[in-house]
């Protein structure tokens, strides 16, 4: 039972990171109908920026804030300079360009920072509290809960309560009609990419210190889990992304804890296949979510 409780909290903590990352994928999918396979590399780039800033200044928090801003900026650049010019006649075009971006980013980061894992500190202790002799969760887990919780609440409010959120949703669902109503659809698309990249960077900042450290490919495995989370949730649904993230996090934690760490990636793959076979639209899809 102790073990179960510990694994559950661990799974929820990991799951929230996947949720944030899946949310970033969903944001771009909704806005641009592109699965952003470069999300992981973009997040790693932001983590490297934070790493540099923290090393130079000694302040984790300064690095943290700069990472989110770097994410925003990178999102704007990727949309304005690259993705805007992708021909949308085939859904694969965006995917191929995103994969190309992965190679460019990973190569560039490798040239600048080297291809070794560099340990990254966490702002809070990762030692779990014990309640009644049962290890439950750490201060860092609480930080993860708070950070991802804040993102979910802020995004929800942005999309449901503000004029800019209404514009973003309208532009995603009906671009031509939105333009006729005075909405700058191109601007909303850029904003969507910027927000998504910032959320992805946050996920990177949260997950990288808990694994081997920062490396040009540090987010590759996380991307697979988060992509599965997004697909489980339906790709179109922010709530689905969060629930999908938690499902994936718990599954990984239980499988690693009760069976073996090496089996965990297979469990993720099995989940992905099961969902695609049983409910191809995802558990929370509202409409025709996927074309390919």
């Amino acid at each position: 039972m102790d073990r179960f409780i510990y694994l559950t909290f661990d799974g929820l903590s990991r799951g929230l990171v996947y949720a944030a990352f899946a949310l970033a994928l969903v944001l771009i999918w909704r806005a641009a109908r592109i699965v952003n396979f470069a999300q992981g590399s973009m997040a790693v780039a932001a983590v490297y920026v934070a790493y540099s800033v923290t090393n130079a200044t000694g302040s984790y928090w300064l690095g943290f804030v700069v990472a989110l801003l770097a994410g925003l900026l990178l999102g704007v650049l990727v949309e304005r300079v690259v993705m805007r010019f992708v021909d949308h006649s085939s859904p694969l075009n965006g995917v191929v360009v995103a994969l190309g971006l992965v190679l460019v980013l990973q190569g560039t980061l490798g040239i600048i920072y080297g291809n070794e894992y560099q340990p990254v500190e966490t702002p809070f202790s990762r030692d779990a509290f014990e309640v009644g002799g049962i290890a439950m969760l750490s201060r860092y887990d609480l930080f993860v809960f708070a950070a991802v919780g804040t993102v979910v609440v802020v995004l929800t409010l942005l999309f449901t309560r503000t004029a800019i959120g209404l514009r973003m949703r309208a532009a995603a669902f009906a671009p031509d009609v939105s333009r006729l109503l005075g909405v700058s659809v191109g601007g909303m698309l850029t904003l969507g990419w910027a927000l998504a990249a910032a959320v992805g960077s946050l996920a990177g900042m949260l997950v990288v210190p808990t694994e081997l450290g920062v490396h040009p490919t540090a987010m590759d495995v996380v991307f697979v889990s988060a992509f599965t989370a997004a697909v489980v949730g339906g790709l179109d649904s922010p709530i689905g992304a969060v629930v999908g993230g938690l499902i994936v996090g718990l599954l990984l934690s239980y499988v690693s804890g009760y069976i073996d760490v090496t089996v965990a990636p297979m469990a993720i793959l099995a989940l992905l296949v099961l969902v695609l076979l049983g409910k191809p639209g995802g558990l929370f899809s509202s409409s025709k979510a996927r074309v390919a």
Binding site: D176, R179, L181
Partner: protein, 239 residues
């Protein structure tokens, strides 16, 4: 040049290499309802889409209130006072009725008047007021048409480009919408460029009619004259 609200001269446009519209000319005076008639594929929808910039023109000139619209971005059109209600009603089906209507006024600086215009639309269309929180896809065809029209009115346009409002609607609902357009014109001086397949309905409220065939204007006259021109009706309008 008279004080026409919309003056179109020699407009040529299309998709890709082959033009759909050839040398199209028409005028809409302030407060006037002009019907654009013609068979399927005559270029009626393309005409509206070209006027609003969704389709690029390859020749000709469009003046709105004396100013050339060339180079005006689609998203700036509504600020000039032109509202385009596209074919298939253009309701954002994923958004609620209220969100759709608010969307129509988001561009406006005068927030108080945008709010007032929204309330007026709810008064004008009581069924919408009862379904504020319904998603667009939950509405009937007539309600969607009301919503698209209402959303345009929130922007207090001077010219309404209306594409096939009667499409798929029961005759009674079509009649209501036509009566509403006439009423709006009387009350607010709204000018309407109305694209319609339903020739009888359109000519019943229009002042002028323009008949398109294969992308060319083949007749342009008072609506009453077009109604009585049996040869023209047989040749181009099918009744």
């Amino acid at each position: 040049m008279t004080g026409a609200l919309l003056q179109v001269d020699g407009l040529t446009a299309g998709y890709g290499a082959a033009p759909v519209l050839h040398d199209v000319g028409l005028t809409v005076q302030p407060g006037e309802i002009v019907a654009v008639l013609g068979a399927n594929g005559a270029g009626k929808t393309t005409l509206l889409r070209t006027l609003s910039g969704l389709v690029r023109s390859s020749g000709g000139r469009v003046l709105f209130d004396g100013a050339d619209l060339a180079g005006t971005k689609v998203e700036h059109l509504v600020r000039r006072g032109i509202a385009h209600v596209p074919e298939g009603r253009g309701v954002v089906t994923e958004l609620t009725v209220d969100e759709n209507l608010r969307l129509g006024g988001l561009w406006r600086r005068d927030r108080a008047d945008a709010r007032k215009a929204l309330d007026e639309v709810y008064e004008l269309f009581p069924p919408l007021a009862q379904r504020r929180t319904f998603a667009g896809h939950q509405l009937s065809g007539g309600e969607r048409q009301m919503l698209a029209l209402g959303r345009a009115l929130v922007g207090r346009p001077r010219l309404l480009l209306l594409d096939e409002p009667s499409l798929g609607l029961a005759p009674k609902v079509t009649g209501q919408i036509m009566a509403l357009l006439r009423d709006l014109r009387e009350r607010t001086g709204l000018a309407v460029l109305l694209v319609e397949q339903n020739v009888r309905s359109a000519l019943s409220i229009a002042d002028e009619g323009v008949v398109l065939a294969l992308g060319r204007v083949v007749a342009r006259n008072k609506a009453s004259v077009l109604r009585d021109d049996a040869d023209l009706r047989h040749a181009y309008l099918g009744f």
